[in-house]
Amino acid sequence: FHLGVTPSILRKRYNMTAGDVGVVANNSQACAQFLEQYFHQADLAEFMQLFGSSFAHRSQVDRVVGHQGRGKAGLEASLDVEYIMSTGANISTWVFSNSGRHESQEPFLAWLLLLSNMSSLPWVHTVSYGDDEDSLSLAYMERVNLEFMKAAARGLTILFASGDDGAGCRRVPGGNHTFRPSFPASSPYVTTVGGTSFKNPFLVTAEVTDYISGGGFSNVFPMPQYQAAAVGRFLRSAPKLPPGSYFNRSGRAYPDVAALSDNYWVVTNRVPLPWVSGTSASTPVVGGMVALINDRRLGRGLPPLGFLNPALYRLAGGGHSDAIYDVTHGCHLSCLDGTVQGQGFCAGPAWDPVTGWGTPNFPGLLRALLAP
């Protein structure tokens, strides 16, 4: 029985033992913040005091890149830091704080510039930010996508939240509706994280989809080869699909993976807050696990995981069934109209556009990803 998601609940659900904490010195992880989102070291310390007694952890962020304001802590920044350090426990953690030092600066681009300018960076980065694809220029999205390729070539893993609007909805000229993909979640060179809920919200049970979990098909980026078989299988075998006019079945499909995204406890401004939800919660949880797998790889003299998707789709599609909990129940939100009646895609066996491959079973995922 529990009253919400805390580090110990996550670690229990994903089968992380007390020994699953970072041990190597040259490993690190990071989350990026935009706008005026700051975290307080004191909140992190209190969070770990309240919720971190069952595993070795750090209670301090090691490095802040950029400007950390002196104002109140932001809920989102607190959430990111507290949870990446709960699954990626005992791993050195950085925060990139891109509030937009200059009022004409674009903070997201400022973060990309930092990546292009720093020769030594954490191996794992989590970001909970996105825009509707249709609001952005093609030139901008293609260039940002190329920036992610640069990061991938350097061995960085970049994880994006899939968003909290399900498949999204947009009215197109003529009055019809289509789903509304989100970028950078739809970039083929990032790993996108969706959301789930416990089937019984007060017990550590199996997971079902979180109806807000963002997912769908890009209208800009074609489907990459690494996911073609998995997505093709979904499109062929799903018992019910939205009408073809609502989505681009040949586009990059997301999310790739998921984790719990509902009912988190967060300490912000020294106050423990319950009921914090969204894929911005699930993303640092997965990010911390990837950083921990990197830790084990680095400890064995192996390179870090880098761009995760080719390995993820290979292992999940190749029968490593103990690496991932397949989430097969529930659907996510979409257009409130007579055709789809608020329902987007539904989860099913193997990959689906609500929870990707499903949620991590840490020991199985570690085993599979230590092998390549």
Binding site: E76, E106, G214, N263, L302, R314
Partner: protein, 182 residues
């Protein structure tokens, strides 16, 4: 001129719906002497080669799996051609823009200049201030252009249209109705 981002929506801050946090509100055009910072995304080389490398170093079946590049190796692959660098720098200098810095990969150039210079540099642009609470941002509600001869050297200019990002994977506490149904 050439419009690098004709499809980029400029989203003028809309009046906030009731009971929601206030959005960005327009507070007028900035003084011509007001400083702006623009980032020029220079056209890179080697995009196709970069894609091949990413495939090779990320695919566990590849013999190059895990053989990542250093930042300097990435720079050598993607840095813009000397012609691109010269053309863009000459254009900037021709407008008196001198306060610029590049990044290690040489594919972005950040420059500071007065708004009046930026408006001459990017015909069509017009810098206005928008505020939200304590925050202030300067953006152009009108599309910008660059000279035709820059079309093949510049991907886009940052700092004109896109507003600072809102949290997308929102972590706001859900309302009690949702919690109750859970």
């Amino acid at each position: 001129g050439h419009a690098p981002e004709p499809d980029q929506l400029f989203r003028p801050p809309s009046p906030p719906p009731p009971q929601r946090a206030p959005g960005w509100t327009h507070s007028g055009r900035v003084d011509p002497r007001h400083g702006v910072q623009l980032t020029f995304a220079l056209r890179q080389r080697g995009a196709q080669r970069l894609a091949q490398i990413v495939d090779a170093v990320s695919d566990p079946r590849s013999p190059r799996y895990g053989q990542y590049l250093s930042l300097e190796q990435v720079r050598d692959l993607v840095q813009p051609s000397p012609t691109t660098l010269l053309t863009v720098l000459k254009w900037l200098q021709g407008h008196g823009v001198e306060n610029c810095q590049s990044v290690t990969t040489r594919d972005f150039v950040e420059c500071h200049m007065p708004a009046s210079t930026a408006e001459r540099l990017l015909p069509g642009a017009e810098f206005h201030r928008f505020v939200k609470g304590q925050q202030s941002t300067v953006r152009s509600p009108r599309p910008y252009t660059v000279p035709d001869e820059l079309a093949q050297h510049l991907d886009f200019v940052s700092g004109l249209h896109r507003f600072p990002p809102e949290r997308r994977g929102s972590s706001s506490t859900r309302d009690t109705k949702d919690v109750g149904s859970g």
